[in-house]
């Protein structure tokens, strides 16, 4: 699905990631952990082409991302759902329109997709909040809506950047449950999180590999996790 081969990334003269190699196979579940500022978000951005590596190669669906033109990159992103840490909604649009945004920009017939949309809103428990504007939502609601938007195109891969960063334990368990359900549907899931308790809780529900970024390098986490 997504493969990083000896990837390095430098910014402003400093090296953030070095010699990172990993393969996210179909249907796998990964956690990515590491201290704040260690490069977790950078790693995710490399995975969905928001950043290009300064060395090495990133391949998505067997294609070198550098070889993609801008339109091809847009098409590729429709196959990778991303849950951003800050959710990144369009504040002037109601929640349902935000969730449906990937469908809108890909030119899908919204009349035909309306049942899928309401099913998805129901799945994340936001049916009653469809008309609310993003600034009116709680942290948990925002994260669930971001997850719904990430999966509405039925992507092959779901990348989540600190999806439980701004929610309480109960809500983080709910979000984790949704991501595990997605994985059971065959989606490849990668969650970047520094919440070790969440990772431990997940390991009882799903077979997950835990990766850690330490000193700019990617390592398999030890048995302590």
């Amino acid at each position: 699905m997504i493969e990083l081969e000896q990837v390095g990334y430098s910014y402003g003269g400093g090296e953030l990631l070095s010699d990172v190699s990993i393969r996210l196979t179909a249907g796998s579940f990964h956690f990515l952990t590491g201290p704040s500022g260690s490069g977790k978000t950078t790693f995710l951005k490399l995975c969905y082409g928001a950043l290009q590596p300064t060395s090495g190669q990133v391949r998505a669906f067997e294609t070198d991302m550098r070889a993609l033109d801008r339109d091809q990159m847009a098409l590729m992103r429709r196959r990778i759902g991303v849950v951003h840490q800050d959710c990144r909604f369009l504040d002037h649009l109601p929640l349902a329109d935000n969730v449906a945004l990937p469908l809108t920009v890909s030119g899908r017939d919204m009349a035909q997709e309306s049942s899928n949309l309401s099913e998805l809103m129901n799945w994340v428990g936001l049916s009653e909040r469809a008309d609310a504007l993003p600034p009116e939502l709680s942290g948990g609601e925002r994260q669930r809506a971001a997850l719904a938007r990430a999966v509405i195109m039925s992507p092959d891969v779901v990348l989540a950047d600190e999806p439980t960063g701004n929610v309480d334990w109960e809500m983080s368990q709910r979000l984790l449950q949704l991501l595990v359900e997605l994985n059971k549907m065959g989606k490849t899931v990668l969650i970047a999180s520094h919440d070790l308790a969440l990772i431990r809780a997940a390991k009882s529900q799903v077979q997950a590999r835990v990766l850690r970024i330490s000193n700019r390098r990617l390592q398999l986490a030890g048995a302590d996790l």
Binding site: A50, A74, R77, F89, H92, L101, S106
Partner: protein, 298 residues
């Protein structure tokens, strides 16, 4: 380009909503395109009026000439008759006619008054010459006249026709240059407004890119908005400009060139092009600005 332009009309209400409304740039675009269209209508009126004038002067003056006979009074009638005979035999002259005393008095009246005693003054006899389609050989005619009518001087109007026609053509050119400058200024203002809108919506654009929107989709959302705004603004400006032209005094001989500013006949259709041109300028300017901004985003 035509395909992209035609896509503007396949209005996608959902796509239009992804870009938040922006009051300031909307007003700036409406005002700029309205003001520029208003000015363009006047520049167009000036250009078309100058063109008509240049054509009329060139046409009317090119087809006429004057023969002036200065001779002692006892030879005047004979020389006039001889000149008319020569003119009648000259190829390219449709007709030649000696002006009557009353007509000559009328010509001199603006300078000497209506009660001019023409009979007591040594006023030259004027002969009006009208050319046919082929025109006559002025040099050959002068040579023959110098031999047969020694008091005759041929004036084919070339000397003072040329600068007049040149002046009118310069005015026409100036009108078109003004229209081009107005178009350029409008493009610059709409580009500024589009850039402001694109900068203000940078985060929106980033989100759209992240969820898989192609550059064309994002650019079109802005292009469609600015093109319609420019069209509406230019349509209002054109309507006001046409109202202004309608209020100008109608063409009259007394008023000369200044009262001839305006549109005539099918010329009234020309201003209808202004809103379309305004929309086209906005289409190109916004598309260029959007593509430039999008290139800077991942």
């Amino acid at each position: 380009m035509l395909v992209r332009f035609s896509m503007l009309f396949s209005r996608d209400a959902q796509a239009d909503r992804v870009v938040p409304p922006s009051g300031f740039t909307a007003q700036l675009t409406l005002f700029a395109s309205g003001a520029m269209a208003f000015l363009a209508v006047f520049a167009l009126a000036l250009s078309l009026a100058s063109g008509r004038l240049a054509d009329r002067w060139a046409d009317e003056l090119a087809r006429s000439a004057t023969l002036r006979i200065s001779a002692p009074s006892d030879q005047m009638a004979a020389q006039t008759q001889a000149a008319l005979t020569v003119l009648g035999q000259t190829p390219g002259i449709a007709r030649a006619r000696a002006l009557t005393s009353d007509e000559q008095a009328a010509l001199l009246a603006p300078w000497f008054g209506a009660d001019l005693p023409l009979d007591s003054l040594p006023v030259p006899q004027l002969i009006e010459i009208v050319e046919d389609e082929t025109g006559f050989d002025a040099t050959g005619l002068r040579l023959r006249l110098s031999a047969e009518v020694p008091g005759a001087v041929l004036d084919d109007h070339t000397r003072w026709r040329r600068p007049l026609v040149k002046a009118a053509e310069s005015l026409r050119r100036l009108g078109w240059i003004s229209i081009a400058l107005i178009g350029g200024a409008m493009a610059a203002m709409i580009t500024l407004a589009a850039n402001a809108a694109l900068s203000a919506n940078r985060q929106v654009i980033e989100v759209l890119r992240l969820v898989g929107a192609k550059d064309g989709y994002i650019a079109q959302a802005f292009v469609r908005r600015f093109t319609f705004r420019a069209f509406i603004g230019a349509a209002v400006g054109t309507a006001l400009g046409l109202g202004g032209v309608l209020l100008l005094p109608e063409a009259s001989d007394e008023g000369g060139f200044l009262t001839g500013l305006g549109f005539q006949g099918l010329g009234w259709l020309w201003p209808l092009v202004v809103p379309v041109l305004g929309a086209s300028v906005a289409f190109v300017a916004t598309g260029t600005a959007a593509r430039r901004t999008l290139k800077g985003l991942s």
